[in-house]
Amino acid sequence: MTLKLGVPSKGRLMEKTFQWFGKRGIALRRTGSEREYAAEVEGIDGVELVLLSAGEIPRELVAGRIHLGVTGNDLIEEKLANWEQQVKPLAPMGFGEANLILAVPAFWVDVTTLEDLDAAARAFRATHGRRLRIATKYHRLVRDFLQAEGVADYRLVDSQGATEGTVKNETAEAIADITSTGETLRANHLRILEDGLILRSQATLFKSRRAAFDETDRATLAQLQEMLGIDRAPR
């Protein structure tokens, strides 16, 4: 058997992942034509590279079709119930850093905290006859956060992209999205709530707790962890 390592198939996340492994003596590279999702691994035997969309990696880890995978912990925590029981984070990788945050229009000078958002949502519902909309693709994380904080009278609307534009387009009144520098938020006249940090995220190497590891896989994993400088805590 080979140890299957799932890595994002394109963009900065893929390049940074390749660099991260490269610095630790493991060369990952794409092969074949620009459009073909084939790849190879050098520097360690018994590891197979699987190129996947970052969003599919949580599911593949749980299904046990890959043993290891690189993705953001935001996606892991949004997509997996009881994620700690399904996957184990082996190493935070120090890139792809992004925070899941709640933001409102910058000109809402009366709303700087969740307490304000809750009060504004109540007044909004009384005035407009419907609940204040928050656009996001992180439904579960945002709902759990707002429920724990006791914010009411809002509704989540799905936004799979260009979420920062939803307020201007009047399809939402506020947003919950990933941001790293906050530039897109500022450009779209949005401001993060002071206590609106829902989750800190970064690219992380995860190990599946569901995949089958045979003897060879375990030996390969041990060698890999040693090369990557990851302490081997008990499973």
Binding site: F107, A123, R140, G150, A152
Partner: protein, 361 residues
Amino acid sequence: MPTRADILAEAARLRARFEALGAVPVETPVLQPAETLLDLYGEDIRGRAYVTDDALRGEQMLRPDFTVPVVQMHMAEGAEPARYTYAGEVFRRQESDPDRANEYLQVGFEIFDRSAPADAEAEVFAAIDAALAGLSLRRMTGDIGMLSAAVAGLRTSEARKAALARHIWHPRRFRALIERFSGRAPVPPARLALLTAADPLSGIAPAIGLRSEGEILSRIKALQEDASEPPLSSHECEMLDALLAIEETMPFALEHLRDLAVDLPAISASVSRMEDRMEALARRGIALDALGFEASYGRSSMEYYDGFVFGFFAEGRPDLPPVATGGRYDALTRQLGQGREIPAVGGVIRPGLKLELEAAR
């Protein structure tokens, strides 16, 4: 574990029990319009119910409970007084505990009656108690109405009372508001700056979205009014804390509440109602010494109950959900009644859990 056939048979027996008490058996659709439930419970319900949709009817939810459709049915076509019973599946999304069922049977008993509210409450409780006799379950009661009354009686602005009343079901936000209104939590610097700004909206950022400048200005006005409001007295906060902390057997709780009502006269009427309820329960043979009362009971899980609430729990099995729950939900009939309302009280039993516990004995 009991089989599905066993559970269905048990559900039929329980429903027959309630029919013998004069309840009319009713059925409700499994698919419920999502909008009604979302309006009642807010977005939180999406974490607890399965949502589906089609192009014609929009979002639908798999029935998370019977109370809402039964109230709708009664408000639309029911004669008064009325009592209903039902047995059927409810569906609850489970996202963290794989051992909790996401589909199970419920058998319910609901009374819509304007006369003798204490007796209706006692009748529902006693009927469920009799159905579960022999399981020696821990029985807990509470009264959301007493908390509402305490809030309504605070010596503070109507706006503050409304904010607290809205969050009785969100203990954490409720606590934060008490801290804010009593002055124990510092006012955030951004709010202080806002309150003293001559022209708060000038040069900040372009106005985008549906929430208008007018709405922002009216909230600032509300904040300014609130800032001139004297803080909630520490005496009142202590009384409220004392009320929320009550957790005793019913007779002791009553003693305690009577003492508290001297300082917190707003709860007096609720305390008298509790006394009536206790007498009505005793008349139906319920031993009050063995009945718990927690003032905070029902605050985090039972959003439509607004008066008497109760639950039956398996002793030593904190892993199991309650075997039966119920309470008064007058406000729900008002919300769903389009201008009409009727006092209503009811409860549900989970026949599957009942059988499981019986088998374990």
